[in-house]
């Protein structure tokens, strides 16, 4: 069993941005979803765990080792797919994977070749293995990214918004690969797409403005809101009135008509119809409440 413990982590960038504030998390094997809007601090958290940045305060402890003291302790077991990454020009996927595998310490040539082959197949890149990675399309490149993250023997796999910009088929394939390996390792997946989490993650946290605003099992979170989400059709002009009156957590445009989703303990008027709760409602509800509280504070 691997454990990753984040204690009261805070990160302030040199320009004064508070990217993380008192973040505490405890993660063990399995897939952990980190959900949050852009700018919430997801990438900052991941870079910190990878030892690429130092915390302003707090600590990250992996399997008992404080990584701010010795980042190499975590890097030995790390598979990391950054949110954005590029590659050297004029290098094929094969060469580059080979290079990274050696850096990760896969020295046995046969093992290395086998693992690279397997990963290329798994990520559906085998055909393109001799092409320059710099010429790959966005989806191919991301799949290459996951292949490189899985090289060696990672115990902690971090993927930072890996599904952004992928088409549905690519996305499924991608997530499949992840879930396959997640039984014996920690997979930390950050995303701003709720869908990604619901399918796969046994545990999740919602990050907003650098703070953890909710944490738990996705199903528990959904159950917590059971029967409290109501839907009503609304005209664009009336939306503001509605928002003033009720706790509107999101709106959705369906076939040219706008519907508003409202959180309420009980039915408000007959215009409102109860809908089954899904994770997205949870996410928006929590974001909304966390914002109002932080304004209030």
């Amino acid at each position: 069993m691997n454990t990753l413990v984040i204690n009261n982590a805070s990160k302030v960038y040199s320009n004064g941005t508070k990217a993380l504030e008192h973040v505490s998390l405890k993660i063990s094997n399995g897939m952990f979803g980190l959900l949050g809007p852009n700018g919430a601090g997801k990438s900052s958290l991941m870079r910190t765990i990878a030892g690429l940045q130092t915390l302003t305060s707090g600590s990250v402890i992996f399997n008992g080792n404080d990584i701010s003291k010795d980042p190499s302790k975590i890097r030995q077991h790390l598979g990391y797919l950054p949110q954005e990454f590029g590659v050297y020009p004029r290098m094929s996927a094969l060469d580059l994977l080979n290079h990274i595998a050696i850096l990760k310490g896969v020295l046995n040539k046969k093992e290395r070749q086998e693992q690279i082959e397997a990963l290329l197949i798994k990520t559906n890149l085998f055909e393109h293995r001799k092409k320059f990675v710099s010429n790959y399309s966005g989806g191919m490149r991301r799949r290459f990214g996951i292949a490189q993250a899985l090289l060696g023997n990672p115990k902690l796999i971090m993927v930072d918004e890996p599904t952004a910009g992928l088409d549905p088929e690519e996305r499924n394939r991608f997530l499949d690969v992840l879930s396959e390996v997640s039984s014996s390792v920690i997979v930390l997946l950050s995303t701003h797409i709720v869908e990604d989490i619901r399918v796969l993650c046994s545990n999740m946290a919602i990050l907003s403005n650098g703070q953890i605003v909710k944490q738990g099992n996705p199903n528990d979170l959904i159950n917590g809101l059971h029967g409290k989400i109501w839907k009503t059709p609304v005209l664009k002009s009336e939306l503001n009135v509605l928002k003033d009156k009720y706790n509107v957590i999101s709106t959705r445009l369906l076939a040219g008509k706008t519907s508003a989703y409202v959180f309420s303990e009980e039915q408000l008027t007959t215009d409102f119809e109860s809908v089954p709760t899904d994770l997205e409602h949870v996410y928006f509800h929590i974001l909304k409440t966390s914002k109002t509280t932080s304004y209030a504070a």
Binding site: Y13, S14, R47, A50, G51, L52, Q53, T54, P71, S72, R75, Q76, H77, L78, Y80, P82, E84, F85, G86, V87, Y88, P89, R90, M91, S92, L94, D95, N98, H99, I100, I102, L103, K104, G105, V106, L107, R112, Q113, Q115, E117, A118, L119, I121, K122, F126, R129, K130, K131, F132, S134, N135, G145, Q148, L150, L151, G152, N153, P154, E180, V181
Partner: protein, 1189 residues
Amino acid sequence: MLLKLIKFELKYHFKQTSYLLFTTLFFLSGVYLGIQEGAINPENKYNIHLFCSLISLASVFQIVFQTGYTVLRDTMNNSAQLIYTTSVSKFQFLYSRYLGIFITSSFSTLLYVLAIFTTILIDPLHIYSAETIEIIDFIWPWLIIILPNVFILTALLFTVALFTKKVPLIFFFGILIFILFWVNNFNIGSPFTGGKLVVDEQTIEKVALFDVLGLCSSYEQTQFWSPLEERTERVKFSGTLAFNRLIWGSLGIVLLLVSYLSFSFKLSESKKGRIKKHRFFKFKSKKQKEILSTPYKPVFVLKKSFKSRLKEFFNLVVIDFKITIFSKTFILLCIVWVGMLLSAMLHNISGQDVYGNVLPTTGLLTGLILEPLAHIGLFLIVFYAGELVWKSRQYNFNEILDAAPTQNSVLLFSKYTALFLLPIFIIVLGILTALLIQISFGYSTIDLKLYLSIFYFGGTSLFIYGILSLFIQQIASNKYLGMLLSLVVIYGLGYGLPSIGFQHPLASIFQLPKVGEGYSDFIGYGQLTNVFNWMSFLWISLALITLLISFKIYKRTSEHRFKNQLKLIVTNWSKLQRLLVLVLLGFVCISSVVIDGKLIPKSYTDDMSFRENYEKNYAKYKGYPLPIVTSVKTKVLLRPKALKYTVEGVYTIFNNTEKPIDTLLVTARNKLDQFSIEDAKIIHKNSALADVKLVVFDPALLPHESKQMSFKTQKSIGDFELQKDIISNGTYLQNSAFEPRFGYIKDLEIVGKGERKKRGLSLEQKKEDLKTYKFENTTRPKQDFETWVTTDKNQIPIAPGQLINQWSTDSTVTYHYKSEVKTDNNISYFSSNYETTVEAYKNVSIEVYYLPKHNTNVSEIIKAAKATLDYGVANFGNYPFDHLRIAEVPLHWKFGGHALPGTIAFQERFFTQDISSPTNGINQLSRVVIHEIGHQWFGQKMSPAPGRGGNMLNETMANYMEAQVLEKMYGKAMVRRLANFSRRRYFNFRSSAEIEEPSLHLVQNETYISYRKGFVVMQSLKELIGEATLNESLKELISSNQKQESARSIDFINIVLSIVDLQEQSLINDWFKKRIIYDLNITNVDYTKSENSMYMLEIDISTNRFETGLNGDKSEINTDETFTIGFYNKYPDDNTALPEFRTIRLKKGENKTNFKLKDLPKYIIIDPMVTRLDEDITDNIFEIDDEQL
């Protein structure tokens, strides 16, 4: 809109650190030049022009940086798509950017020029005495040279940037412009490269047109300017210069148009889908099925072992190295490098004209690699340090790489290694190029060890610079700033302290001695190797401390914070690190102390305080009557292996004046262990630096009385001492190195005005009045000479004189020489492991002493020696000695040859001259042999009296000898080439001399007069009175001046004058006693064929003469004299041409002359043998057009 955009651009540039840095540097260098005595002469407009224009070179780099930043800031910051889709028009977009660069760069250069001007105007150190300094003299070069250059360069680099969008290529182009400039200037021998090559006019004109920066064009316009013109004339915007500016200016405009037309707001596309050909890693072809069934499983990774680190390391290095060397920029750079080397090597081997061909020896080629390696290597290192450090970030690969479990040290070490592989790579390329040349020239004595030494002598600096640049890149906030900072730091550390007057060998931080030219086959790099070793040890230790720090502050974060890194430098040192730093610091201290102690203070001539005190204390002895030496007996003990020598001398001194001598000032370079003069007492001595003594005679030394003087001195050379007197092999010890000198030595007076002012020395300098110079009737007796020279066993000691006896002990060998005739005081002692070739020729034993491997040219030397002896004996009387020794001396002696009585020191480089085609160009080897043997008559047999004009009898006549013997040996065409060379050199050197030009008969040390003008004038004289008469006169001069040093230039002129008619007398007086130059020009040739198949030629010649006054003014004077006209069937420099010479009398102005010839000539030349000083001889030649018939 455009204005607003430009304003925005200007603001942008003014905020760029690199721009500010460049501008500050420009400004500071202006100020620096202004306060540097001897750099700029504000009284010389040409000099101002030169120094102002030079900034063009630096502006190349400034523009490179600015262009790089401007054009690529969008693509680099990924904002191109945003800007390209705004409403800005193409015109506004492009030209606001162009103008932004142009205006800001122009401003920086203007600042430089103004800084020079104001500094000179204010003159804070009081070094200038110019009365008026006009700002226009500074602004003018800015307007005609610098501003157009900035315009052109910006257009050029801007276009490159637009088309390629690659910063490295912009850099590359910048460097290319820079290199082209140096090659151009080198090829025409312009003052920028310090060289004074002689190149024919057409080449210079071509290069002047071709030079982007227009600096060659300035040179082309001014090459023949007289000193007066340089002072009073501004470089004109006309001729080739104007043409050059127009050509390049229009090219600039065309480029701007082209870039406007071809630019569109599109992103550059990269070629997609290329299949990679090379692979680093072979994928075993397996059956498809098998592959598809391979399941993914984690591979268990062991804890990192040393082996795994090694593997990671190699993998990283290989990737970095491959990406670099297969990049376009690097390949281009290599092509340029090899091209440069090839051209430099070929240029040196097939030296033009006078320089003659040289064998491609390893020593020569190694030097030619080392020289440019220092510069190219520095750029290579600085540039690729940036590329390597920022590469992963540039490609956004850094997070993946940094998150890998690779150790910091492995990552960093791989960077260093990849970087150091680059200079190694280009050194290997250089060596291969050199080998290629040696093999294709069939030169087989290849010295591999010497080639390998390039890695050490050339690579060490680059190693140090590499550590520095990588360190700087680590703390810099972006790549290009890092590069610039690296250059600033490297140059700043290297030249900062010395440039503000801090003169200590350790003040040039991280600078190693340059060894490139220091190689000699006698001793390799000699003592330079010691200095180099210790200096390398010192600076490498210091650099390693930097390396350690760079390891310490290395953080794999995406955050870059200078403050944090600074903190890291001081905190958290581990025990091992502390120990390492201590050890390294120890090394630094030890080597500093060693170097400080061993690098002995420079000689007293470099010590300004000594010279100040010398002048203050002893100037009062100026003009005291002095004795001369009439007999020299020395015992010279040379110990080359131990780098020591001892001299014991017993001299006879003689009062040759009409006054009694009672007080005598004696100055010796080395401390004298013993010194005494018969009947004289030392009443004062000061041996702090030089040994200065004041001696009083009691009783006084009466006129024509002799006394004996004896002294003993010894010198031991330090390991580091870079001197040439005694070296382990190749000693050439001149008597001036140890002999005490009599009287106040005026040469020790400080020359620099500022320095004199600072030290409170008087400024007025009395000038001799040339107009009223009177030849005095002073004669000097010559001296007897006898010596016993001892040296190490395996070497041969040589000195002038007849060899009387020789003997040896177990470890030494002694030769006893005694001169059978009285000689002048031109004595040196040689010692080397010589090989000897002896040939008896007409009662003279011709002996050549040379390094065993330098045997190729011995027969040519002997051939030239025989020809010279023949000519000399036939025309000037018997050769004064029974031996003629020609002994090789090492390359570091800058003379070609040096004549001692019966003995000639002959420079190493002639022994590696390629004389396989001796008639080509000018046979430099024979030329120098003839010259030096010529001195045995003109210098030894007949020695000039003290006073002006002596060199006309020495050097001019030895040059005359060259012409005569070379003609006998190799024909007239070679003499014509030599004469033409002399003519050009005269004008070239005259332009950098004093305004007041002495006439030939009053010449002192002005070589451009005694050698060059003398050569040409003697050829005119020969034409006028005939070779036989001329030689007769010389013989008469020699025979009446054999006993004493008594010959005067005027005596020779009078002999000649006495045998010619009045009209000839006036010409001879013109040539020898005045400054006369000619302007000859064949303006047209018409010809018809008559019935008897003879050709009738009508030739128009314009003739003009000018006299230059002592104050530099030039005035036209009358012409009426006889010239030779040559009809050539081939180009006159062709050895196989068969010219027909006729004489014609020409008058001032236009002349029409008619000739009847059997064959139609191809070329008609007025004054074909170049016997007149004519600035431009391209119009002396007329090519006949066959089509005319």
